[in-house]
Symmetry: C2
Subunit: 883 residues, 2 copies
């Protein structure tokens, strides 16, 4: 195993392809050196050494330890400088670099190699004692902090004292002598704090490398990797490189450049720099950097030849890598060095624009363009956002349940939300959790905030369906309905109280809760995005449908490119005020006759909803799920509502209460729901099928092409499907006979129980399609209630027991394993069976990859996720071509 990979002078051990070994930074330095770019010489210690360091109980690998001096001497040869030399001292930077970028997460040390001797040499060689001692004091400070873990503020204090004593405003006003004093004070402070600053440069280097390895497992880095789903096992490389100085006077400088605008994607050379400064000064933001081009103080004006060289190099780099680059450069006394290049991070808008531009410029193919899309990131373009330029401090954080940004005045109940919205006030509806009763309030609100509930709670699902911003499951949120106020516990223990009418901003993309009104940017579905979606459609084989329950959302989803409805939840049609009364009468009926009467009243509503949806989806398939949720979700809670139902049914309030009590369940998710309803109350299925078929025939008679697919939910035993299928066929036949018009329809089932997967071969004999209800399948397979699992899920993800939330990303081993089994078994008995996924996972790019591999025919996300799914499906096809 090689311990040192050298680069410099137009040569390198390794290339850009070696990111796993050399880290992103090391690999790119090697690549730049290989292609002849001006890169200061150095070497990279590979990631494997880091892992050995951890296996060795945090001790540096022997080979690194023993080979270090020799490795440094190679840099000496390449640069002609001596490490610790009294004439022409070699100074080094020591930087971390993992295979995947983890910006700012790990440590860096600059100016290493300075000591009481070399500082004089540097002063002499550079002709600036001021520069030399400033570099030295920076190094000591950095060493104290990064290597020894000492508090920076003690050193800052020493600096301030000297500045004040000399009446100086800025660090740059310090003279060489004053900086010598700073160095002495720093050394004394370091000793006082129990540290040791070694004068031996090799000892400094060894300690620095050790510190970089150690920083791999610091809290920030671990947390970052957890959030980004990165493995702790990849390790970091360490790059040791000859220093070049941007702070050697007015012909020196340092900067950052992007080959295209990372915010808009525009094809312009873009960046900023500081004269007479080191890189950290740019990052620290103490001085305002100057632009590279166009302005009076731009690099283009101040150092035209350096700019020309930089411009030529950036074009070479983008050409070489074929993607927008983020370049770090330093100018040392008029000499340009590139310190780093990497694929530049960009906004979703820039990602799309750059991709499309590069295709048009002939740099990449459309497939490459799609391959480069971060599908999840595209979601940003579907919702308003807070521009990066706006600074804010969140007062709370929940789950990013439905993306977008919403800003409004806080209200605590649905009715008030509706009233205030009617008179033109934007409102944020804050609830402990939402229920079907809150639907109108949610509709009226700009956004919804709940204290409880996961990513697939009622609030989250309904909000996503409405394309409405929602933050759910905010653990520190206390809602006091009586006082009409909410309290958010702050990290410092303080309690932030927000009262009714106060302004609040929610970011459903990040889960942040922000006090007051925050500026937002509107969604941007521009031509470039449309172009990307068109290309994605040309590539993908997975169909993308949508989950929509109303004509309105069906229309919207179709605009976003949905190729049908994968899940129309009929129960959502019953929450309207007029309808829920009949729904409640139906549920609380004691006899079948009473129930049939109530169902007859519901039928016209349902039929007209179906007509609207069929019309919106002319020519596309519409999967309608028969009633699914536990009935008590619809039950009245207030005395007034109960009284109303009692009057309507002509029975006593006590009787209604008894019936409500009788419907109560310990675990409604596992109770009387799904096809258990239709199988024990066939009249329910009858009404729904009748409404569906009547609606479909009315549309068909108007010339609309209707393709209904009737879906029986929660089937676990084959006879459940058989019985429902028989009933559906019977009702459908009657309606077609009555109407004198035939339409074709298919019948299938939702696969959402582990048992259904086990007996999928039996079920497939009676099903034209399987639609995987992965929300419920996740609940039963994992034994996680989506409403309650927040209590341990956060903790599980934090402690690494779970890698991710299985309600967001499909659990491949468990749920995915059952799905694969079901598809395989299903095709054994019904080779033509159509398969799709209608759970929330259908809009998650990682899950879409699984769907592609598993050979599903379609995914069906919520309307606003359709574009994301189209691109994700295309990417999945590129990576795993369908056969």
């Amino acid at each position: 195993m090689q311990s040192f990979y050298f680069f410099g002078n137009g040569q390198a051990d390794g290339s850009a392809a070696d990111k796993n070994i050399l880290g992103g930074k090391g690999a790119n330095l090697a690549e730049m050196s290989r292609i002849g770019l001006p890169v200061p010489a150095g070497f990279t210690i590979p990631t494997s050494a880091c892992m050995e360091y951890y296996r060795n109980n945090e001790h540096m690998p022997q080979a690194v330890e023993t080979g270090l001096a020799e490795a440094v001497s190679q840099i000496e040869q390449m640069t002609g400088k001596q490490f610790g030399g009294a004439q022409n001292p070699l100074l080094l930077s020591v930087r971390s670099g993992a295979a995947v970028s983890m910006p700012g997460m790990m440590d860096t040390i600059l100016n290493l190699g300075l000591n009481d001797k070399t500082v004089e040499a540097l002063a002499h060689k550079s002709g600036s004692a001021r520069f030399a001692y400033d570099s030295y004091r920076r190094f000591i400070q950095m060493y104290a902090n990064v290597v020894l873990g000492l508090n920076m503020s003690a050193f800052e204090h020493e600096l301030e004292v000297i500045k004040e004593a000399n009446n100086l405003a800025s660090d740059t006003d310090l003279t060489a002598e004053q900086l010598m004093l700073v160095v002495e004070r720093y050394k004394a402070k370091l000793l006082e704090l129990g540290g040791v600053f070694p004068q031996d440069p090799i000892a400094q280097l060894r300690a620095a490398i050790d510190a970089v390895f150690g920083s791999w497992m610091n809290d920030r880095a671990v947390t970052y990797r957890r959030i980004q789903h990165l493995s702790d096992a990849m390790g970091t490389a360490v790059t040791v490189q000859a220093m070049v100085f941007g702070n050697m006077g007015e012909t020196s400088g340092t900067g950052v450049a992007f080959t295209r605008n990372p915010s808009t994607g525009e094809n312009v050379f873009f960046g900023e720099f500081l004269l007479n400064a080191q890189g950290e000064d740019v990052v620290a933001g103490i001085r305002t950097p100057q632009p590279l081009t166009q302005t009076e103080d731009s690099l283009e004006r101040l150092m035209p030849s350096v700019f020309a060289q930089l411009n030529q190099l950036q074009q070479q780099l983008e050409g070489h890598y074929g993607d927008m680059q983020d370049i770090e450069f330093t100018i040392e006394e008029g000499e340009l060095y590139l310190l780093q290049t990497r694929t530049g991070k960009r906004t979703a808008a820039a990602m799309v624009r750059i991709g499309v531009d590069m295709v048009q410029e002939g740099i990449i193919s459309t497939k490459e363009c799609i391959g480069r899309m971060d599908a999840e990131k595209l979601d940003e373009l579907m919702h308003p956002t807070i521009p990066a330029s706006v600074a804010y401090v969140p007062i709370g954080r929940g789950l990013p349940a439905s993306p977008g940004v919403a800003c409004g005045q806080v209200v605590f109940d649905a009715d008030t939300a509706e009233e205030m919205a009617t008179i033109g006030h934007p409102v944020i509806l804050v609830r402990v959790e939402t229920s079907p009763e809150d639907i109108n309030g949610m509709h009226s609100a700009e956004g919804v905030l709940t204290a409880r509930g996961g990513m697939t709670s009622h609030a989250a699902v309904v909000a996503r369906g409405m394309g409405k911003c929602c933050v759910s499951g905010c653990p520190d949120l206390l809602v006091d309905y009586a006082e009409q106020e909410m309290t958010l516990q702050q990290p410092d223990g303080a309690r932030k109280v927000i009262r009714k009418g106060d302004w609040l901003t929610l970011s459903g993309s990040t889960g942040e809760v922000i006090e007051g009104r925050v500026e937002t940017a509107p969604p941007s579905i521009d031509d470039a995005f449309l172009q990307v979606l068109t290309w994605a459609d040309e590539i993908r084989t997975l169909k993308v449908r949508t989950n929509a329950d109303t004509a309105e959302s069906a229309k919207r989803a179709r605009e976003f490119g949905a190729e049908g409805i994968g899940l129309c939840r009929t129960e959502h049609m019953f929450f309207d005020e007029m309808r829920i009364r009949h729904m409640r009468s139906m549920i609380l009926a004691e006899t079948k006759d009473e129930r049939v009467q109530a169902l007859e009243k519901l039928l016209p509503y349902q039929q007209s909803d179906f007509e609207g949806i069929f019309t919106a989806m002319d020519g596309l398939p519409v999967t309608v799920r028969l009633l699914d949720p536990p009935l008590h979700e619809f039950l009245p809670e207030s005395e007034a509502e109960i009284k109303l139902i009692a009057e309507e049914l002509g029975v006593s309030v006590g009787k209604i209460k008894d019936r409500i009590h009788a419907l109560d369940e310990q675990n409604p998710m596992l109770g009387m729901r799904g096809c258990r309803l239709g199988n024990t109350m066939p009249e329910l299925t009858e009404m729904q099928v009748r409404a569906l078929m009547q609606g479909a025939i009315i549309c068909a008679k108007k010339g609309i092409s209707v393709l209904p697919e009737i879906m029986v939910p929660l089937v676990g035993h084959v006879k459940e499907l058989q019985a429902q299928k028989e009933l559906i066929t019977q009702v459908a036949n009657s309606v077609m006979e009555e109407q004198g018009h035939s339409i074709s329809y298919i019948i299938g089932t939702m696969i959402e129980l582990p048992r259904a997967c086990m007996i999928a071969d039996e079920i497939a004999e009676y099903a034209d399609f399987f639609s995987f209800g992965t929300n419920d399948l996740t609940q039963t397979t994992l034994g996680f209630s989506r409403d309650d699992s927040g209590k341990f899920l956060d903790e599980y993800i934090k402690t690494g027991i779970l890698e991710y939330d299985p309600f967001i990303r499909l659990d491949i081993k468990g749920v995915g394993g059952l799905m694969k089994m079901a598809i395989e078994k299903g095709k054994q008995t019904n080779s033509r069976i159509k398969t799709g996924i209608c759970g929330e996972h259908g809009g998650d790019p990682a899950s879409i990859i699984f769907c592609q591999k598993a050979g599903l025919d379609y995914v069906s996300p919520s309307p606003y996720r359709v574009p994301v799914a189209r691109v994700a499906a295309a990417k999945a096809e590129l990576d795993n071509p369908s056969t």
Copy 2:
């Protein structure tokens, strides 16, 4: 396909082995004829004809229709009588007979062939016009009822009118002339009711066969098969046989005999008969039958030679079949005929006694004896029963949740139950449903009745664990706590009200609720039963452990033969009044410190419980499950209890209420429970492991052999087990070090989530054993909440969607399929892994067969089911020998 299977005159088409073709009755008649017994000649139409009848839209198969006359002529030849003959008329019986006995479920017709002509011949030949016309009127009546479906009472009425007119007390007092009148009146009534009585004997026969086929699908038969889990597709055979007459005077008679006593099993010839009577008279119970032997009026005394012949034949039959026989016989004018023999039904006690006796008599082997045990039936011997001689009418019916019979005064709350029991009153605790709060009340009660909850509800599980009678989920029961009364809706719409203090009897074996006090018989674990258990132990390879949570129940289970504890639920230890306070403090603690304090108080209790269990189980393994249930099961509900906890923790009542509210879950079964508790509150696991290890070491130091097996519940992700295993090992090591004593223990997991089955290979790397928690695995695999599923499960079983309750009998395809997968995967990575089942299914014989086939190492039922499981395991080994 043969349409007629003849028997008689020492010959037969077919034998006892042909039950599937000929039905039980036909096959046994063939067999008896084959071995030379005196059986009236006849033929059997096979079951396949019945199925063809149903395929033909309830029309008799062509081959039967056309061959019928010829078939009858063969009987004529064998008997020398003529069907419809004016000299020596042949009369026939037409009987149903399925492969499996369905006593009384289908129809029978006797005396067929009588008409206005043959009745005269019969009168002439028998010398008794009275006999002939009595037979004729019986036949008309039976034909009217069975073939024509007319109401019997109209005919009974005609008979009564004539008896009254002639001042007669009994049917037998009717003269020949009077009976002729009855026949005329019957014929008139039949016409009046719209029926036709054919004079043509073949037409009579055709109609009768048709009626018997039709009776296969009558409501009684369909219901019976549903309850017995028999298939509708097996069909019934029809046996047509020459009549012999037990009512031809004082040298004729008819009776039923058992080769041994069917109630006690005693090896004595046992039975009863009636002189001058037909079989229906014995069954109808109008006249009191006389015994076969011993008394003055016994057959032995009255007809010694017939008795001697019968006695010889019964010995021959038992010898031939090798099992106790139930024989029907008729004596026609001194001539003995056997009409039927079959394996006799018997009580559990007789089953055991006969089996053991027959082994000792050298008739069968011990393996055959075990093979003949109905393991489920043995459960009767473990609990008090209502003797068959006691008549009662139940006023309600629920689920037979925990067997036995209990009799006591009704109370409606646990405290009252305890109070009344303390002063010596036996009580029945009646609740809507029970909760942990009711444990002491359940303990004090004789039996428990609940309106809600399934076979594995809290009430059911706890009651079975206590060996206490329980009827759960009684749908017609309304409990009014305020009025202290319960109401049971009766089938006729009446409401039976039972008030506090009223006497009530429950049969937990049948689910019956009986008003008042009913006589009971004590459980009988006699020597014969012990012998059977010993033989079973010699055969079986499957180990039988038990589920026990206390030293007391562990001891009892060990007496019943348990070979270890397969599941010790540690949460049950916390329900005691003193302990639950600390448990609640623990749950409601806000900080880890507070929680640790409460746990420290719980530790000594738990440790002493473990000591007791280890002592009771000296030398046997004890599987202890770490805390599993949702914590809110332990929470206080009343204001007083909440106040107590608030004081104990020194916080406000409001705060405690907030915390209780925060613990509330939508679906607790899928929420914060199982190892999610131990993984988010490691201190909980720490305390439990410490208590366990300390208790084990104290016992070990006393010389007790302790074999602890620590079980982590509800694992779905391998890291859940890894983390708990690490913690357990760490605590166990500390305790062993502190105590200066090492003991060996193993760590395993409960497999109770579908995901655990999917990743069993990963889990097995960290587990010494898998214990299948099939209660929960059934809940998640099927999506059935055991507490709520009653709402549709009954309906599903009634309508045939489900064949049986999956909480009682393991769902082989779904749950069983996942188990097999888990075992296979688990053995891939850990070939030495031990596997067992600790769900309630471990005591169900049908499920035990699956466990044997799946290669499990042990089952673990509740203590009172251990004997059942021992025998079931032996039977399973016989049928599916382990390899």
